[in-house]
């Protein structure tokens, strides 16, 4: 047999052509077409005619996506080819829906318009993602300062609770503001926390998983190793109390649990963590009025009392009516009444999409999120070093948990929270943080394939 090193020659041949980049380019043009389709459909359904303004809403996001694509070609040629098109698709659907809500708002003489801002913010967020890819050729530099990232995350979490710059909206203190400019620092904090946890757990995973005394069937770690877990738990409960937002604390604590579970492979942490979280939530629902009101609205959104109460279930009920109106195939973009849901452009954008695209459409949106998260976990699996594995798992999971908590809230499955829908919702901080997260995933995926080569 003279079939020498055929098995090793073939992958090298394939690598000569950056297939993932070319495939990505095709997908980006496709998504760009979907965006144009969505915008045209909105204009035809609402205005009964096409307008030149369509070009503005179409060209800027496409420009941003192409910018990232070309930076990838220059700096990270073997990065994953599906992540960018998926993120661009979600961002595009968000822009189309926000534009559609703007047209409805303008028709009834309102001035709360978001689409222009969203388009510019998307472009800025994508430019920053491109910059991250350009400046961070190797994510392993992030490993050098886990504690700096941890402190940074804590500062960002505390900022909104400070006087003067802290802002409260709809009962939750999640924003900081200087003049007209507002920002939600918690969104950036989730990336910093993932970096911190990854750095911390890489050095501690052995003592967390191997040392400890056996109680019943579980191995309980030493108090010394468990300490930081308790600190994080207190910090997230602190966020809950200070910022009055259940979703944010669930997000951070869930991120921590998953990363510690990934690092140690011990179900003990998940069991104890979930028990502590549920206890915390139950106690909070008794102690704090706003939490118990959320719980009431969640358990019975259609009761007259909850519907009429201030901060009650009116919004959720409108969302449920809207999605029911959407049925399986939806009312069509521009064909429903999503403008009747308060905050349809931000917190409830999934409900607005659910009404106009229907069950089939919202499933496509959720499938896009699922694929994005799957690609992230796949990158984690293909990396051989623990830091990259942990960081990528954390980044992918935090995105997944956020979508789950938001979608669950909008559909009445979970209590409502103040989290934003990644890529879809109107708002700069969310776009910025999620595009930065995607940029990191792309950088990490590039280094995994490149090191392998």
């Amino acid at each position: 047999m003279s079939n020498t090193s055929l098995t090793s020659a073939i992958p090298k041949l394939l690598k000569a052509v950056p297939r993932s980049r070319n495939f990505e380019a095709v997908l980006l043009f496709w998504v760009s077409g979907i965006l144009a389709f969505a915008l045209a459909q909105v204009q035809l359904a609402v205005l009964q005619k096409m307008q030149w303004s369509l070009l503005f809403y179409w060209a800027l996001p496409t420009l941003g996506a192409l910018l990232i694509h070309f930076v990838l070609r220059k700096r990270a040629v073997s990065a994953d080819g599906l992540i960018l098109p998926l993120a661009f698709l979600l961002n595009s659907l968000g822009i189309a829906m926000i534009y559609r809500l703007d047209l409805a708002e303008a028709a009834r003489g309102g001035t709360a318009l978001f689409a222009d801002r969203q388009v510019w913010l998307s472009l800025i967020a994508m430019a920053i993602a491109a910059l991250v890819i350009w400046l961070v050729p190797n994510h392993l530099v992030l490993r050098r300062f886990p504690y700096l990232a941890g402190i940074g995350a804590l500062v960002l979490l505390i900022l909104p609770a400070l006087p003067v710059i802290g802002r409260t909206r709809n009962g939750a203190t999640l924003w900081i503001g200087i003049g007209d400019f507002t920002f939600q620092p918690g969104e950036i904090a989730k990336i910093l926390l993932a970096i911190f946890f990854a750095g911390y757990l890489v050095s501690r995973k052995d003592s967390l998983s191997e040392i400890g005394s056996r109680v019943l069937w579980m191995r309980v770690p030493r108090a010394k190793d468990l300490g930081p877990v308790l600190v994080v738990w207190f910090a997230t409960v602190g966020v809950l109390v200070l910022q009055r937002d259940l979703g944010t604390s669930i997000l951070y604590f869930g991120l921590f649990l998953v990363m510690i579970y990934t690092a140690t492979g011990r179900a003990f942490y998940v069991g104890v963590g979930v028990t502590m979280m549920l206890t915390g939530a139950l106690v909070a629902s008794r102690l704090f009025d706003y939490v118990s009101r959320r719980f009431d609205s969640w358990l019975d959104p259609l009761s007259q009392d909850n519907y009429n109460a201030a901060g009650g279930s009116y919004q959720l009920a409108q969302a449920l009516f809207g999605m029911a109106n959407g049925d399986v195939i939806g009312a069509g973009l521009g064909g429903g009444f999503p403008q009747l849901i308060p905050l349809a452009e931000s917190d409830f954008i999934l409900a607005a999409l659910g009404e106009e695209l229907g069950l089939a459409g919202i499933f496509a949106v959720l499938a896009a999120f699922l694929l994005l998260i799957y690609r992230g976990l796949r990158i984690a699996n293909s990396h051989s070093d623990d830091f990259s594995k942990l960081l990528t798992t954390g980044l992918a999971f935090v995105l997944g948990l956020q979508v789950f908590v938001v979608a669950g809230g909008v559909m009445g499955l979970l209590p409502l929270t103040g989290l934003t829908t990644p890529f879809l919702a109107a708002g700069g901080s969310s776009l910025l943080a999620n595009w930065a997260l995607v940029a990191l995933l792309l950088v990490i995926s590039d280094s995994s394939t490149r090191r392998a080569a």
């Binding site: 079939n3 090793s8 389709f37 599906l82 009312a331 069509g332 064909g335 694929l371 090191r451």
Partner: protein
């Protein structure tokens, strides 16, 4: 626009979304079923053995350990079963999933750089490169470098292979 046209546009948009998602799924399919290119070649090159699948090839009793001078690595089972790699005059062979390895495994349970064969004098020594799922020599996990004797089977993930003279 007429009702019908609006209805078609409405359906069309959801359909376009789904076609996009499904086309991505078709890419991901490769994750689950492996690279087709390689498995085809493996089939073409599979040795025609009388009765029995390539995966069931038994090591053909080369018990004479004194004069064991292997010339090739033969893959017995796994996705690339039937292929072989000539040792030629190499003194080090890197085994793993990454394209840079000398012996590339198309195996989900293999690490990027999984193990190494090193020629020490006349012997070939197997060393595990702190792989995730371990390297096994005749069923025993390789923790410290182990010398390979004739007829010993090396297992990485679901791939079995042996050194042959």
């Amino acid at each position: 626009m007429s009702e019908l046209a609006l209805f078609l546009v409405r359906i069309g948009f959801v359909a376009v979304l789904w076609i996009f998602i499904l086309s991505l799924l078709s890419v991901i399919r490769a994750d689950l079923y492996g690279r087709r290119v390689i498995s085809k070649i493996a089939k073409q090159n599979a040795p025609k053995l009388p009765g029995g699948l390539p995966g069931q090839v038994a090591s053909l009793g080369l018990e004479d350990t004194d004069s064991f001078e292997p010339t090739q690595i033969a893959i017995l089972s796994g996705r690339t079963a039937g292929t072989s790699l000539e040792l030629e005059d190499k003194t080090e062979i890197l085994i793993g999933r990454s394209a840079g390895c000398d012996l590339v495994l198309s195996d989900e349970f293999s690490s990027n750089t999984h193990a190494k064969l090193i020629k020490v004098g006349e012997d070939w020594v197997l060393q595990d490169l702190s792989s995730t799922n371990g390297t096994f020599l005749d069923g025993r996990k390789v923790t410290t470098p182990a010398t390979i004797k004739a007829g010993m089977t090396i297992r990485i993930g679901t791939t079995n292979f042996e050194l042959r003279s």
